[in-house]
């Protein structure tokens, strides 16, 4: 079955991202497809390359990156929700005259249209909200 994930919880504040990650690995291990992960609302913080948890804790951004590298899962981040919360790519940083950015590949800033497309393309869109 084709799955898509919508992640709307922030890492280290809410269990949603970790649950989503475990769910992603579980479905892939059972031979299902994961068409994409979309980060919206507070979930955009998952993409921050500046997150620095203690070394003995999971770095959830790195875990998402590994999911992408191992399984080619697209990691799309809502641009409006991200910019509002200070999650900014290099090109957006340049556009706004900022000296720093914290969103890099494989995460990609994109519009909500991408979420709608993901929902229509997969058979199950699972939301991880809190």
């Amino acid at each position: 079955m084709d799955y898509g994930l919508l992640v709307m919880g922030a890492p280290y504040s809410q269990p949603a991202p970790h649950s989503a990650l475990r769910f992603a690995h579980a479905i892939l291990a059972r031979g299902h497809q994961l068409a994409g992960v979309f980060f919206y609302h507070d979930g955009v913080h998952n993409a921050s390359s500046l997150m620095t948890p203690p070394q003995d804790e999971l770095n959830i951004r790195e875990a998402w990156k590994a999911l992408h590298e191992q399984h080619g899962v697209p990691l799309d981040v809502c641009i409006a929700a991200a910019l509002r919360r200070g999650v900014v790519s290099e090109s957006e940083a340049a556009r706004h005259g900022y000296t720093a950015f914290n969103l890099e590949a494989p995460f990609e800033l994109t519009g909500l249209g991408q979420l709608l497309t993901l929902q229509q393309r997969c058979q199950r869109l699972i939301t991880f909200a809190n």
């Binding site: 609302h41 929700a81 909500l112 929902q119 229509q120 939301t127």
Partner: protein, 121 residues
Amino acid sequence: MDKSEDLMVIIRHAPHNSNWLREGLDAALVAAAFGQSVRLLFMGQGALALCKEQQAGAPGQKATLPTIDMLEMYEIDQLNVPDQTLEELNIPLASLVNGVTPLSESQVKALFSQPRLIFNF
């Protein structure tokens, strides 16, 4: 899914204490702009989004009522609230914006019993 055009966006959070309402409405507006037929269902605290004459709130966000008021321009004219929500929150229908259709318990159940695309905010 055969009715891929048909999207229901469920709003469960009140205005002003989070960004759930704003970002839920954004998703509904984008879907409508992309040509999907969108229904909004305001459940529980979410029904407070429909109270008319509300102002911008304390958290420095823009008011959401202007967005609610322009939903019709996006051809989102299905604004639903369960009867049960109105009863529980003691909100008279007259204190909500125009065009809200209250739904009985069986009508709400019927909405969920058909295959359709749903977002929960």
